[in-house]
């Protein structure tokens, strides 16, 4: 009886939506098993943390108020008065940070295993764009509680745009909603954070996931010739269940982090107070922040901060274009140069991040 109903429902759907096509695709989808298979889990983990962000973000929207007068107090209200508000807000912050960390790992593993090579160039490009979207989420979300640290981080971060010749100034005014960081900036960042970026991200994410389905999982170049003989795991349900186990652990970790290390709210922003000692951005911007600190005031005839900003801008562009720059990988050859560049990049980011946290200034 039950089986009969199920096939009836399936038939009904199939006549209208051709669900059999999707189901037979899912039944055939496999994941190759080899010594680097572990890295296949990180994309799914990022996706899970993103969905946590969507759910907790919508919940926070019920109480958050995006004005300079009310933002700090509304977050205070969420964490002190609203039932489980402390939990939701802390999970939103922790999950955001874990997501960035997982994305770093996901992107670096794809980079070092050269999974961006033909025919997956566009999967890589959309992936890097998603990474930039997530950094945008991080930067805009950081300001929303309207505390002192966020105020100055936003001031510095947006001021960097001003170092770009010609378009810098109008772009700065567009971002800030005026010449200075004010309530207008907060309202704009709120709009970016809850409307513009979610729309962009959803669109690019859909493309990214669709391409992953079309192309299947990439096998590292060193094992590509054994791909046909390689052991494979059915995606559904075997691989998905393993994914789900990871997500369950992540959910537990988020709850534990939120309970043991609740995210701080800090002090309400005062535009007429000096920047506090020990000011720092989110950890994933630390390497850029530290570079800005160490750069001399002038490099050749240009101002230091302009050189730093243009340097990181070019790095970002280079990152997007990696599959097109790496001609050897495209031809299926080994490309040690790009491995070396990747390792150098990791070393730079890790070193400057550590230096940023260890060095005391005064």
């Amino acid at each position: 009886m039950e089986a009969k109903t199920r096939s009836k429902v399936l038939d009904w759907l199939d006549e209208r939506l051709q669900v059999q096509v999707a189901l037979s695709f899912l039944a055939k989808k496999v994941v190759p098993l080899h010594r680097h298979s572990i890295w296949y889990y990180f994309g799914g983990m990022a996706l899970f943390l993103f969905s946590v962000q969507v759910v907790t973000g919508i919940l926070l929207l019920l109480y958050y108020r995006p004005t300079a007068e009310a933002a700090f107090e509304s977050v205070q209200f969420i964490v002190t008065e609203v039932r489980f508000g402390w939990l939701i807000r802390s999970i939103h912050s922790w999950s955001a940070n874990l997501m960035v960390a997982v994305l770093f790992v996901h992107m670096l593993s794809v980079f070092l295993l050269k999974a961006y090579r033909k025919p997956r160039e566009m999967t890589w490009v959309t992936g890097v764009l998603l990474f930039f979207c997530v950094l945008g989420f991080g930067f805009s979300g950081y300001l929303l509680p309207w505390n002192t640290l966020a105020f100055f981080a936003t001031k510095v971060g947006t001021e960097l745009v001003n170092t770009v010749p010609v378009v810098g100034q109008p772009l700065l005014i567009f971002l800030r909603g005026g010449e200075d960081v004010t309530g207008a900036t907060l309202t704009r960042f709120f709009g970016f954070h809850v409307a513009v970026l979610p729309m962009l991200t959803t669109l690019v994410l859909a493309l990214h996931l669709l391409m992953v389905q079309f192309q299947g999982m990439s096998v590292p170049p060193s094992m590509q010739d054994q791909e046909d003989r390689m052991k494979k795991m059915p995606f559904f349900p075997n691989f998905l269940l393993r994914d789900a186990l990871g997500w369950l652990v992540a959910l537990g970790l988020l709850a534990a982090l939120a309970a043991v290390f609740p995210w701080e709210l800090g002090v309400k922003a005062d535009p007429f107070a000096p920047a506090p000692a020990g000011i720092k951005p989110e950890w994933y911007f630390m390497f850029m922040f530290q570079t800005l600190k160490l750069a001399p005031s002038h490099i050749l005839f240009l101002e230091g901060e302009m050189v730093v900003f243009l340097f990181f801008g070019l790095c970002g562009l280079g990152l997007i274009l990696v599959p097109f720059l790496d001609a050897r990988s495209r031809r299926g050859e080994r490309s040690p140069l790009f491995t070396a560049v990747g390792i150098l990049m990791i070393l730079y980011i890790v070193t400057l991040t550590i230096v940023g946290y260890l060095v005391k200034v005064g």
């Binding site: 100055f152 007429f272 000096p274 000011i279 001399p296 005031s297």
Partner: protein, 152 residues
């Protein structure tokens, strides 16, 4: 095409080319008339502000020697310092590097920006760190019990 010549050499081809241009031009015009107001909308209107040339930054006796305070100079922060000698100095508190608000450090007798560790001397000149230019200096006058700071 029916006449065996290129698509643009026949009268029909000429009409086709004209229509393509008209349609394309119309599309560009439409796009422009949609995006121009949007672009104008996202750039905030200039709010006219009274241009201040001087402001009361504090009261005499408010600052102990070798301390400083941030005051409002219109919409921007300024820094008023009372030197150990009792003399007053004032600067723009906006760091020339990336616009953080600077503060006076009594322990160093220097002006300091916490954001990227820039140091300035008591004439506003850069001593160390990334700032590319000195702080703008203001002139200070004591009138009665008020400390008046003005743009030089």
């Amino acid at each position: 095409m029916a006449h065996g010549a290129g698509p643009n050499s026949s009268p029909a081809g000429g009409r086709r080319r004209f229509l393509n241009w008209a349609l394309g031009g119309g599309a560009v015009g439409l796009a422009g008339s949609v995006f121009y107001p949007i672009l104008q909308f996202v750039l905030p209107p200039k709010i006219s502000e009274a241009v201040l040339s001087s402001v009361v930054a504090g009261k005499v006796g408010e600052l102990a020697p070798n301390t400083g305070k941030v005051f409002k100079f219109g919409s921007k922060p300024g820094l008023l310092i009372r030197l150990a000698s009792g003399e007053y100095k004032a600067f723009s508190a906006v760091c020339s590097h990336l616009q953080c608000t600077v503060q006076y450090r009594g322990d160093l007798s220097q002006i300091w920006c916490a954001c990227h560790n820039g140091h300035f001397n008591l004439n506003g000149e850069v001593l160390s760190g990334p700032p590319p230019a000195p702080l703008e200096a203001y002139s200070v006058a004591v009138r009665g019990d008020e400390i008046v700071v003005s743009k030089a």
